[in-house]
């Protein structure tokens, strides 16, 4: 079956522009996560959704970052007035929530590599 799909794979934007990154989770996956991964680093948690509810946005680095998942499936991460330090790979992950099977892993997409010039 299809995995987590992210688009675009690569995005180049000029400083100050707004960008929107899309994530299509695996069908039926309730939980959706966004991460930021800088070169040579581990992923940094940004935000978490359960269905359409954004339950944790504590990792969003500033109010320029905004995420939504209005219908509980596709999610969009928007970055306004981009800055050079926003350059990174943005990863999306989804997972099932099964009370009797708490060992469900997160399934990651291939990421969007964002470069701010």
């Amino acid at each position: 079956g299809a995995g987590v799909s992210q688009s675009p794979r690569y995005k180049v934007a000029k400083r100050g522009q707004d960008v929107a990154l899309r994530c299509d989770p695996i069908s039926g996956h309730v939980s959706l996560f966004w991460y930021q991964q800088a070169l040579g680093q581990g992923p940094e948690f940004l935000t978490y959704f359960q269905n359409e509810a954004q339950l944790d946005k504590s990792g969003l680095p500033s109010d320029r970052f905004f995420a939504e998942r209005p219908e509980g499936s596709v999610s969009t991460l928007k970055i306004q007035r981009t800055q050079q330090e926003d350059s990174a790979v943005y990863l999306c992950a989804s997972s099932l929530v099964i009370t009797s099977r708490p060992d469900q892993p997160q399934h990651f997409g291939d990421g969007t590599r964002l470069s701010i010039l």
Binding site: P43, L55, G109
Partner: protein
Amino acid sequence: ELKVEQNPLFLSMQEGKNYTIYCNYSTTSDRLYWYRQDPGKSLESLFVLLSNGAVKQEGRLMASLDTKARLSTLHITAAVHDLSATYFCAVDASNDMRFGAGTRLTVKP
């Protein structure tokens, strides 16, 4: 604040040798994950560990969890070149996921 520390950060091994990667974390956790990442690729789930004393094995990799010591290990047995990748541990505390910095493993012939 939940912190996750991995060591070593870089590991160069000879084929056929054994080694262990360590993952320490700072607070009580619901789950601990091990992931593999190849250059330019996304993360592939290796293991999910839930409880104290949990041990899981897949091929040449074995992961264990000691919740009292807040320590997980990833043991590599008789390394082969195909295992060259970056390995991350990640700790889940109520859906607040924190990753370690990763261990970049290179297996040499």
